[in-house]
């Protein structure tokens, strides 16, 4: 317990929590902003859909799958040149955010696509019968109808990002997971480890409850 009462340690915990929040937050924002259009592209260009186009669909799907199949720890190292291009450096919190955002984008794009695909095809037909353009179908039917599913996908992604961000220590990203490894494990300070674990559990629980509440609010199905 004494360790946790130490002001230096407290500052370190807070700072690490901040780093985690930053990495997860920025990566999630990028993932949502890029993932949603990507998911829509994957969906509407799929066979039988409103803009079916195998020439677009197949390569995009292949890239997304490729990113998803590379283990995160390897992805982090593999994209170092790209990271340097974006973040200007290959180590530190900002640098760790780049592979995180990349992995999260591929991850969430597939979840978004599934949520969007769940929208009853009859609704798309009804909109087409009204003379809706493809853009209108996307904006007025697909996205609003999939909203609960999209929010659920965001929740899952945020929680996964919290987990992935613990690996960011490997390239000096910092964050709670890194703190736990460095102090709790390598310096034999089990209280730090315990504090980190408790904090992470609280964060994940909080995200899940928040996400679930939002899904309930958006869902008018029952």
């Amino acid at each position: 317990m004494s360790t946790l009462l130490n002001p230096t340690m407290q500052i370190l915990l807070l700072q690490s929590a901040g780093e985690t929040a930053w990495m997860v937050g920025v990566a999630a924002l990028v993932a949502i902003a890029v993932g949603l259009p990507l998911a829509l592209l994957l969906l509407v260009t799929s066979p039988g859909h409103i803009a079916a186009n195998a020439l677009i669909n197949r390569p995009v799907a292949a890239i997304v799958n490729a990113v998803r199949s590379v283990p995160f720890i390897i992805l982090m190292v593999a994209v170092v040149p790209f990271t340097r291009l974006i973040a200007g450096t290959s180590i530190g919190t900002a640098a760790a955010t780049v592979p995180l955002a990349l992995a999260a984008t591929a991850f969430i794009a597939r979840l978004f696509e599934t949520a969007l695909r769940d929208v009853d095809h009859g609704l798309i037909e009804a909109a087409q019968a009204m003379g809706a353009s493809r853009g209108q179908i996307i904006r007025k039917v697909l996205v609003p109808e999939a909203a609960p599913g999209l929010v659920a996908a965001i929740t899952v992604t945020l929680i996964s990002l919290v987990g992935y961000s613990a690996m960011a220590g490997a390239i000096g990203g910092g964050g709670l997971g890194d703190l736990g490894i460095r102090f709790g494990y390598q310096r034999f300070m089990p209280e730090v480890m315990a504090a980190v674990v408790v904090l992470l559990i609280l964060v994940v629980q909080g995200l899940q409850s928040l996400g679930d509440a939002l899904v309930r609010r958006l869902s008018h199905r029952q």
Binding site: G122, A129, L218
Partner: protein, 365 residues
């Protein structure tokens, strides 16, 4: 029957057809048989035209070809003379605003309220918000849902959902309403309500309606004319009364039977006396479509041909506003005389079916 004549709808104008389908053909990819095999129909302004057929006959494919949700392989769709197949994307979108469509499973957006759902086609058409609000109110009144404007579809009954579907379909003031089995997911009472609403709207808004159904009740209740679809082909078409009182095909006959019924109470046949030696017994269903007096025909047959005729059941019904009667009788007598009596009745313009075969194994309760 007589009373309903008073609120008779003026006969639909027989001007040039509003909708013409010309030799529509469609074969789905990966399928060997054509879903639509050369369908041509004409729908006149102000009429309710029904297409009836069994499941898989091609009804949905056909109605979806009208607004080109499905592209026919060949054939033309002419709406008020305009060939929809030749329109570019924007022109087609505009043409679709002139065609409302209602669906079996309603297809309402769960994320929008009743008012929001009805506003959707108006938003799509780019109508400003203030005009939209007024129009939505009008439409809610039209279908009797003023008090449910803010409800979500999940909290509506099936009948209410279809009312929303109808209001939404009419939002952009279409001239043609397409109905793809609009009442097939509803119970009989709600079906009757929705059909009455469709007819009322047709009268009030001078709407033309093309509907597809597998239910005889729907056609009988509101259609003026009907086409019977089988394996992607129209096998019969004409005024509903004519098609189902004088069906030419087995399919039409079976649909007609749904309506007239076999009307043989269980055990009736077993209780009938056996024919005497040298005589025969036949059970006949006689359909009266004109004013020919039932009793006169029956008593004449019995007098002229020396037959014993037992009336098993009788019923009067109507298609639209036209009455018809069905009588089931057991005829006993000399085989030659029975045949002559049947000929005589047919000569008097009566439909006479020998249903004895059907009674041997399967009596209808």
């Amino acid at each position: 029957m007589g009373a309903s004549m008073a609120d008779a709808v003026p006969p639909p104008a027989s001007d040039a057809p509003l909708l013409r389908l010309l030799d529509i053909r469609k074969t789905y990819r990966g399928s060997s048989a054509a879903a639509l095999d050369g369908v041509s129909i004409e729908v006149r302004p102000g009429e309710i035209f029904g297409i009836i057929g069994r499941s898989g006959a091609g009804k949905s494919s056909l109605i979806r070809c009208v607004n080109l949700l499905e592209r026919p392989d060949t054939g033309q769709v002419l709406l008020a003379g305009q060939d929809l197949g030749r329109l570019g994307r924007d022109a087609l979108a505009a043409a679709r605003r002139g065609i409302g469509m209602v669906f079996q499973h309603f297809n309402l957006l769960a994320s929008r309220t009743v008012a929001g759902n009805i506003a959707l086609p108006l938003e799509i058409a780019g109508i400003p918000a203030s005009t939209r609000r007024e129009r939505v109110k009008e439409l809610l009144r039209l279908v009797g849902l003023e008090d449910r404007a803010d409800a979500y579809p999940a909290h509506l009954s099936g009948g209410q959902k279809q009312r929303v579907g109808i209001a939404r379909a009419l939002a952009t003031n279409p001239t043609l309403l397409l109905s793809d089995e609009a009442t097939s997911a509803l119970d009989p009472e709600t079906t009757a309500e929705i059909l009455a609403l469709i007819r009322e709207l047709r009268d009030r808004l001078r709407l033309t309606v093309l509907l597809i159904t597998h239910e005889m009740e729907v056609v009988k209740t509101i259609c003026d004319r009907v086409a019977v679809l089988e394996k992607g082909r129209v096998i019969e078409q004409g005024r509903v009364f004519d098609v189902f009182t004088r069906p030419q095909s087995d399919t039409a006959r079976q649909f007609a039977a749904q309506m007239t019924g076999e009307m043989l109470p269980k055990g009736t046949v077993a209780r009938l006396p056996e024919p005497r030696p040298g005589e025969m017994r036949r059970i006949l269903r006689i359909l009266f479509t004109s004013d020919a007096s039932t009793r006169a025909v029956i008593s004449e047959a019995s007098r002229r041909f020396g037959l014993d005729l037992n009336i098993i059941s009788g019923r009067i019904d109507a298609i639209g506003l036209e009455p018809f009667g069905v009588l089931v009788v057991a005829a006993f007598g000399d085989p030659v005389h029975v045949a002559q009596a049947i000929d005589r009745m047919r000569g008097l313009d009566l439909e006479v079916d020998d249903i004895a075969a059907a009674t041997a194994g399967s009596e209808v309760a």
